[in-house]
Symmetry: C2
């Protein structure tokens, strides 16, 4: 971990630590995080749905533990390296939601499967199914013992053309290949509707998910007809979980961002009635480093500390209402008072809501965990940078 | 460093290592890097300009050493944490190009100044000048010995409103304050024309820099009139160094991206006659993880491995000519053959040129350094994430 986090450790337990920290820092409101985790867990439990939160959002062993303690069945990871990092921290049940295809990566996958309770991986191509089966069989032979088969889900493309099989027939064909290979175990299907998550209007989002779910149901029926009803039907996200709950087709949810929330999700009506379901638990605290023009100031956070794919962050404190942040390159941002009057002092703190939580978290080595203005702890971003 | 880099170390010295690496990887063509470093060094030497390459681009002790070995006077850093990381690696002369303003950061700055040969920091505000002087004086008193004063440059805003004083009068006033404080030493001025660097047309870029340089000259004249001719006049960048050379006002250059190049700079005419001045030395190697639609495929590199602020990367190999990359979220990208015909196999490698090198480098723990297809070494991104 970085030396500057070492310096910050001396401030753990200190009230008013916020002012004494070097910036920018990734700030986690622990109480809000815990309430978000509890709220989603209770909602899924009441609906009879298994929760497998997506750890690509937080990349944190500590947060995964809290989600499991609240009843989650396991976690999801986007990449194998992320799964390895969480396994190193003791997380025992992991679904890898992207195909693992290269020779070196499949070798790591098989090694990981041997050391945790449950490892499931998605497949979307016959070549990959063959390669996984060969590697799992070879590992079994090398141990001169029968090892547990490798658990797989058939990944179904909801129309994004990102990953997943492209048709019901292709899903069936791939499931049949898996069934024929003793080194693999068919566990079910995944269909993640990524494009729908951020449709701002609840009604439009619900209409689109309804249509996609009919497609999914046609695949489930076909699989059942051929003696392969899926045990696991996983998908959903923070944006669509209320809609997926009403449709009752998915039995596992991969929700991720609900734990933190971000500007993109606050721009969406998640509940359908305008009520806010989750609190903002994640912030970036930045500092004014230059203030030579009335009505504006320069912050020490830019592209290297706020992922830019989601547009600008939202300003929540340290500035007049309505103040806007504008990216000013790799290291800086400009904050502008709409009245063009406010005068900032250099060194002042400004709190921002991240535009898109996942890639922003990936820029930091640690979470600064606060209870009110007391720095409670610094949690490592355990899988930071583990993108392979 | 990440465990997966540990796995990759076993491949050092291996020809054809590229195929055996987990992806995505940040690939450095060592010979191209060395030629870029030598070329810029020779050009600056011939013009009598001191070179102080900006390490915010590479964040690497190893690359900074190569720049120093080629004759650089020192390096620039954007943030104090970056400077600390390079100092830990033995880099002895550093200019911090953004103001350092908070109480904890000023404490670190003074500590860093005491342990390297030369540390210079920019100032743009009287409050910051007072705070730096107080901290430097206190450090001196604590040691009960006279320590070297803290070196400062007056930062001049070229009209961006990011950092820097806003007028010639403000520059003079700030320089006079510095001169009056024995704990500080006035070394000169900085004016970095960030907005001009990426103007695609050489002529338009030259016209804009010409106008800004007249403004700078008016400030230099005023400072000289008051007995403070600056020893250092620093600025320039990869985009404008040829223009700055012709104008002969800057005596130090902060060029950074020339070492690697990126898609944004390849889109600019850097020479004025269409000739390419520097080679592409930096790439991202990604892999096809899904290929269920003819004419397109999904790569394992998205927002977490390619900074999105500069638009999409350019495709250089592993795909038909004219193939384009499109971001597909945090973990993936889509590559599309313009003829919509090519069929990729899963596991195939595709080489990309980064859209914007600086924030992309900051996403990786290490450079995979290649000579041809032999993996020569893995160099740490020493200051990765050191944004405070």
């Amino acid at each position: 971990m970085n030396d500057d986090l070492g310096l910050h450790r001396a401030l753990i337990g200190v009230a008013g630590a916020r002012e004494q920290l070097n910036t920018p820092v990734l700030v986690l409101d622990r109480a809000a995080l815990d309430r978000n985790i509890a709220s989603m867990a209770a909602y899924a439990r009441a609906r009879g749905v298994a929760l497998r939160p997506h750890a690509k959002t937080h990349k944190s062993v500590e947060i995964a533990r809290r989600q499991l303690a609240a009843g989650a069945a396991g976690v999801c990871c986007a990449k194998l390296g992320e799964a390895e990092a969480l396994a190193d921290g003791g997380i025992g049940s992991i679904l890898v939601t992207s195909p693992v295809v290269s020779v070196p990566a499949i070798r790591r996958l098989v090694a990981l499967a041997a050391r945790i309770d449950e490892l499931i991986v998605v497949v979307d191509h016959p070549d990959n199914v063959a390669a996984l089966a060969a590697a799992a069989a070879a590992a079994s032979a090398a141990l001169a013992a029968s090892v547990r088969p490798l658990d797989v889900l058939i990944d179904i493309d909801p129309g994004i053309r990102r990953t997943g099989v492209a048709s019901a027939a292709a899903a069936l064909e791939l499931a049949e290949r898996v069934r024929a290979l003793p080194a693999l175990r068919y566990r079910g299907v995944q269909m993640y509707c990524g494009l729908q998550q951020h449709i701002a209007s609840f009604e439009e989002r619900a209409a689109s998910i309804g249509e996609r779910t009919q497609y999914l149901q046609s695949i489930l029926a076909l699989l059942a007809e051929h003696g392969m009803p899926p045990a696991i039907v996983t998908g959903s996200g923070t944006g669509t979980h209320r809609i997926d709950a009403a449709l009752s087709v998915l039995n596992e949810w991969q929700v991720g961002s609900y734990a933190f929330m971000d500007r993109q999700y606050f721009d969406c009506d998640l509940s359908g009635d305008g009520t806010t379901l989750f609190e903002c638990a994640l912030f970036v605290d930045a500092r004014v480093v230059s203030a030579n023009t009335p009505g504006m100031a320069t912050l020490d956070a830019g592209f290297k500390t706020l992922a830019a794919d989601g547009g600008p962050p939202r300003v929540v404190s340290g500035a007049p209402d309505g103040s806007a942040y504008h990216f000013m390159g790799d290291e800086h941002g400009l904050i502008v008072d709409p009245a063009l009057k406010h005068v900032w002092r250099i060194g002042e703190l400004v709190r921002l809501v991240t535009p898109h939580c996942d890639p922003t978290v990936n820029l930091y080595d640690g979470y600064h965990v606060f209870a009110g203005d007391v720095l409670e702890d610094i949690w490592p971003v355990s899988a930071r940078g583990r993108s392979r």
